[in-house]
């Protein structure tokens, strides 16, 4: 692989995870905040809220994971390595 391709790949891998983490980060913060609010208002619903929160957090996390998959492909299985 020539140096410009590897430099671009490494940079792109960093950007893919870094930029991909922004949105889900905000989303997970919102979700967790609302869950805490819900528990404060209705402590007896804690179990149900926790279950739903974990499930939805994992969904949001998946978005960053897509970025990570792209980064991993660029680092370990680069199609442009040629």
């Amino acid at each position: 692989m020539d140096s410009i391709t590897s430099a671009a790949s490494v940079l792109a891998a960093g950007l893919a995870v870094g930029l991909g983490a922004i949105g889900p980060g905000i989303g997970q913060g919102n979700a967790a905040g609302s869950a805490v609010e819900g528990i404060a208002r209705q402590p007896e619903a804690e179990g149900k809220i926790r279950g739903t929160l974990l499930l939805s957090l994992a969904f949001m996390e998946a978005l960053t994971i897509y970025g990570l998959v792209v980064a991993l492909v660029l680092l370990f299985a680069n199609p442009f390595a040629g």
Binding site: M1, L55, A62, I65, V69, L72, L75, F76
Partner: protein
């Protein structure tokens, strides 16, 4: 690009190739899946050997698991159809769960392979894509067998404008299902490997526990989503 860490020796993209006809298959994934399948079979056989009225030991664990999976399936698929899909959902959940935990807990490094390394079968994209495509087939079969051609009404509800989106959805469902599981498990292994490379002692432990937690959640999510998709396909609209 060779990327081999001295302590954790993480070898992403290196496989133990077996030749099967015209296909090259990833041998290490097969080996670890067989271990997982064998462990599950052994557990079930041992647990159901001598059934007792008061469950103890392995039987107790199996009954707890069965209860848990039944609740999951009933909640997503609904009272009418969940019995038919309980074995499928249960198998998916147990296989993914035991694969994820087995990849982290079994000391695979003691077994040396000529190339590649043993690990969680779900950290290989082929396994997760196969599982996700099975889920796709399952929900099409569920919908078609329960409703016949009326299943395709689902595509024009609530308005026919939704048709392209619903068709795209059929492709994005297996895509996201497989990538989510693959990415999470591989990410856990990578994080632990990188931390073990930087500081070999103690420091990777919290990341390992977080990895166990997220892999359990991912197994739950995979099973829940599979059940949800099937439930969506068999759901009857009440007009």
């Amino acid at each position: 690009m060779p990327f081999i860490l001295p302590f954790a020796e993480l070898e992403v993209g290196q496989h133990l190739y077996w030749q099967l006809g015209n296909y090259k298959i990833h041998g290490q994934v097969f080996l670890s899946s067989w271990v997982v399948i064998g462990a599950l079979l052994a557990l079930v056989v041992v647990g159901t050997r001598k059934l007792e009225r008061d469950p103890r030991g392995v039987q107790n664990l199996l009954e707890f698991l069965w209860d848990y999976i039944r609740e999951l399936a009933r909640e997503q698929i609904g009272e009418k159809a969940y019995r038919d899909w309980l074995p499928f959902i249960g198998t998916l959940f147990l296989f993914v769960f035991v694969s994820n935990w087995g990849g982290a807990l079994i000391p695979w490094k003691l077994i040396h392979l000529p190339s590649g390394e043993l690990g969680a079968p779900t950290a290989d994209i082929n396994t997760t894509v196969a599982l996700a495509l099975l889920v796709s087939l399952a929900y099409f079969y569920a919908g078609l067998s329960r409703k016949g051609l009326r299943y395709f009404e689902y595509y024009v509800e609530p308005t026919p404008i939704m048709v392209p989106f619903k068709i795209i959805e059929d492709f994005t469902k297996p895509l996201s299902l497989s990538f989510r599981l693959f990415g999470n498990i591989l990410a856990d292994e990578l994080v632990v490997a990188v931390l073990a490379f930087l500081v070999p002692l103690i420091v990777p432990l919290p990341a390992m526990f977080l990895g166990l937690f997220t892999s359990a959640i991912q197994a739950l999510i995979f099973a829940t989503l599979a059940a949800y998709y099937i439930g969506e396909a068999v759901h009857e609209e009440h007009h």
